[in-house]
Amino acid sequence: MHADITLTVDGRRHQLRVDTRTTLLDALREDLGVTAPKKGCDHGQCGSCTVLLNGRRVVTCLVLAVAGDGAEVVTAAGLAEGGDLHPMQEAFMDHDAFQCGYCTPGQICSAVGMLDEAAAGWPSAATPPRASAEGAVAELDDTEIRERMSGNLCRCGAYAGIVSAIGDAARRTHAAAASGIPRPAREGGRR
């Protein structure tokens, strides 16, 4: 069975016919040739396929393409607008926050989405209970970053660089302003 859907990917609008069994990840990679999101597990366990879907970080291997009809997708390639790398990407280069590079586009999308979540006051398991209750994350320290980035595995073991890169990028630019991506609503969201 097939369905016609529309996807906006990195600012480009696509109309495509997809097999209803196709994941958003495979639609991006195989149908549209957008290979910045990677397939590391196809089971929602590694984070390699992370994109910003309607402004929020999402693992695309767990989204059916038909369910993404009308969605706006930003991949790591889209973060590098007009050939200029996003500050997060520059920071990953500076801190050598990758080796083989396979988890990297997912890490970068995840990091950009994560900074927006933190700026919106979303707590993590590392947030002290009081701060969680008040909806305020006082400081995005390394422990917070590590916790919030633990859905993105890196077999090369670049975590130390990833944490310092994200901290650096967060300091260098205000995250939301830098990302240029609409900040997610605190409640609900679009999906």
Binding site: D42, D96, C100, G101, S150, Y159
Partner: protein, 702 residues
């Protein structure tokens, strides 16, 4: 502490600097194309069907339903699959039995490919693969790994010096240490895109060696090597499993032969990565140390029992490192192997050394405790003057320097001698140390590099080396720029294509030694031939230079790793807030990427200490925890303060660059350092990885 001496003149200082990765922009933007990601209008997709028995024969294959399914192009099984030359001589690292895919009805391990579907789409292939029905003649299998088996094989004669049974001394450590089956799990699955045009085959392949794939595929198909092209510029990690070829590549090749003029794509699923692409054997290490009361060793005896396969022999040489780590007049090191009905093991980061430095390095900690010595001092007292294994002098050996500098940086001196002495709130805190060791391995295969002047002072350097994340791309650019005396931006390095000059495999931490030395030689030859003002198009090539002293010296890299471990007194939870390594691995070409290599290895070592274990159900012969939800690898939150440092070691004997190799040593010793620190925190000696919280529950009184 550091040792410095004269270096060969560096013209620009590019060697030893720390530029960012040259391929970095493509990787952070996600535009670097890995094997599965080449655009092909004629793409087709292959889905394997795997055996559900561990031993026997395929009696019948019913492909009717699969063939009738929408979008199916071919259903392959041993009765109709294209023939391979099963008598061909393959490169020595290959396991022929594993590669003779769909050539007979025999089943040698559970998960072996027994059929495959090629279809128009990924979904159609997956669906049709589920429609293939197989009937088996099942035979009894044996997948029970144990050191207590009575049928263990002795693959090689034991290494013996003196008489270890007659070793004297009042202190004895006699213990058994175990490491589990582990899977490499590079983040990019093993992937192939293969296209046969009737004359020649092109593979886009995730591999550690394009030439090795070319030669092997040519042999299997009976083609001249010139009709096989292998393209692999970006590879998403390998850690050894992408060294030798495995069944999925051959399946894709068969699919391409069966469906010509289509680009047949296959990426192993994460689950398939637990049966089709090799693994690290489990080890059981019986370690016996005998020493005098001052901790001076008189005897070292190590027997490592490992798992191999009836389909092909692979011995994880876990008793190897003990041959040359510490002095003792009486020594015996040997291996015993259980040959089982399981997939063939393969290389995984520091094969032999990584598991083989767990047992002995925990045993050295036990020796230190038994003698009332500081664990660093116990190692210093057993420092050999010459390589104990061969009697040769060391080209350089800076183990003690690493231990001392690490102790300084880590703050080792404040450590209480007694275990269980430091408590912070609900945490017991301890520190531990272990040594790292990795030999200077001869490269697998030759190398040749070509330097061409593209005009305007710009140079192209090409060889078929694979940068699997090591930083080779950047480091080779630095080597060429340094010798040519030009800025980095004026050098373009081309890698990862069998159409480029021969390059040795990315394995054994040999990249910088072989490719680096080769590029160094080619750039030197270029300047010698063409001077400083060459004509556009001027070229020079060179082969890997001979290492003059390879046979005269023992050549190894060393390191020392320090860990702080906290064990929770309520839950037994184990955390590792600090890891610090100091390494002596010859010359470091790129400080930035070298740090990532060391830290990446240590992170994988931490992962081994705390998480990794493939659980094989011997009743069925398969790994039951075959995904990242159940085979845990270290996540970001597992890693806190992790530091790598190195000693400025100059070793002109190893090769012209003085580089010893850094890709693997970082994982060697980490797990022992963590286990030793956990002992120091709690007084509980755990002789197995991964450490588990229940190991500590009794002691912490939870």
């Amino acid at each position: 502490m550091s040792t410095t001496s004269e270096r060969p003149a560096a013209r620009t200082g590019a060697i030893g600097a720390g530029p960012r990765r040259v391929e970095g922009p493509a990787k952070v933007a996600g535009t670097a194309a890995y094997a599965y990601e080449y655009r092909a209008a004629d793409a087709a997709y292959l889905a394997p069907v795997q055996a559900t028995i561990a031993r026997g024969r395929v009696a019948a294959v019913d492909t009717a339903a699969a063939e009738a399914a929408e979008g199916v192009l071919a259903v392959l099984w041993h009765g109709n699959a294209p023939r391979l030359r099963t008598d061909a001589e393959l490169p020595g690292l290959q396991q022929p039995g594993e590669l003779h895919v769909l050539q007979s009805a025999e089943v040698h391990y559970r998960g072996q490919p027994v059929a495959a579907v090629v279809a128009e789409t990924f979904e159609a292939a997956q669906h049709a693969a589920a429609l293939v029905t197989l009937t088996y003649e099942q035979l009894p299998h044996d997948a029970e790994f144990s050191a207590g088996r009575t049928d263990l094989a002795t693959p090689k004669e034991d290494h013996r010096q003196g008489d270890v049974k007659a070793a004297e001394g009042e202190v004895v450590v006699d213990q058994t240490y175990t490491t589990p089956m582990q899977h490499n799990n590079p983040m990019e699955p093993h992937s192939t895109m293969a296209r046969w045009d009737g004359e020649a085959i092109t593979l886009h392949e995730s591999t550690q060696g394009a030439h090795m794939v070319r030669e092997t595929v040519a042999e299997l198909l009976g083609l001249e090597q010139g009709r096989v092209r292998v393209v692999a510029p970006y590879v998403g990690g390998g850690f050894g499993s992408k060294g030798p070829l495995h069944a999925p590549t051959v399946l894709a090749v068969l699919g391409a032969r069966a469906v010509p003029h289509r680009s047949v794509k296959l990426a192993a699923t994460r689950r398939q990565m637990f049966s089709l692409v090799g693994y690290r054997s489990p080890t059981v290490q019986r370690v016996r140390l005998r020493a005098d009361a001052q901790g001076r060793l008189s005897g070292i005896d190590v027997t490592a029992t490992v798992q191999s396969a009836r389909l092909g022999d692979f011995i994880e040489e876990a008793a190897g490192p003990a041959k040359s780590m510490y002095a003792a007049p009486n020594r015996r090191m040997g291996h015993r192997a259980a040959r089982l009905d399981v997939p063939v093991p393969t290389w995984m980061r520091a094969p032999g050394e990584c598991p083989g430095m767990f047992g002995p390095e925990v045993a050295m900690d036990e020796l230190a405790v038994a003698c009332g010595l500081d664990p660093i001092e116990a190692r210093v007292r057993n420092e050999p003057e010459r390589d104990p294994a061969t009697g040769k002098p060391f080209s350089t050996r800076n183990l003690i320097a690493c231990l001392r500098e690490g102790a300084d940086r880590f703050g080792w001196a404040d450590r209480p001698a007694e275990p269980g002495a430091r408590r912070e709130g609900e945490w017991l805190v301890g520190t531990g140390v272990a040594a790292s060791f990795y030999p200077v391995v001869p490269p697998v295969g030759g190398s040749r590099a070509l330097v061409r002047h593209a005009g305007d002072g710009r140079y192209v350097v090409s060889l078929a080396a694979a940068d699997i994340g090591t930083g080779a791309w950047t480091a080779l650019t630095q080597v060429a720029a340094d010798v040519l005396g030009v800025p980095l931006e004026h050098v373009e390095v081309r890698l990862g294509d069998s159409a480029l000059p021969l390059a040795s495999l990315a394995g054994g931490s040999t990249g910088m030694m072989s490719w680096g030395s080769t590029v160094h030689a080619a750039a030197t030859a270029f300047r010698r031939l063409h001077g400083d003002d060459p004509a556009p198009g001027a070229e020079a090539a060179a082969d890997l230079p001979e290492v003059a002293h390879r046979d005269d010296y023992a050549m190894h890299a060393y390191g020392a790793q320090f860990a702080e471990v906290r064990v929770n007194t309520d839950t037994g939870e184990i955390r590792v807030p600090r890891l610090l390594g100091v390494f002596a691995a010859g010359r470091i070409v790129n400080a930035r990427t070298a740090r990532s290599q060391f830290v990446g290895g240590m992170t994988m070592g931490l992962s081994m200490a705390l998480h990794e274990e493939s659980v094989l159900d011997a009743r069925f012969g398969h790994v039951v925890n075959a995904d990242f939800a159940e085979y845990h690898i270290a996540a970001n939150a597992d890693v806190a303060d992790i530091q790598a440092h190195w000693i400025d070691e100059h070793d002109p004997l190893v090769n012209p660059l003085g580089a010893k190799g850094i890709g693997e040593i970082g994982i060697v010793g980490t797990a022992a350092a963590v286990a030793n620190a956990a002992y120091h925190a709690t007084g509980v000696r755990v002789r197995r990885v991964p450490l588990r919280l229940d190991d500590f529950l009794d002691a912490v009184g939870a």
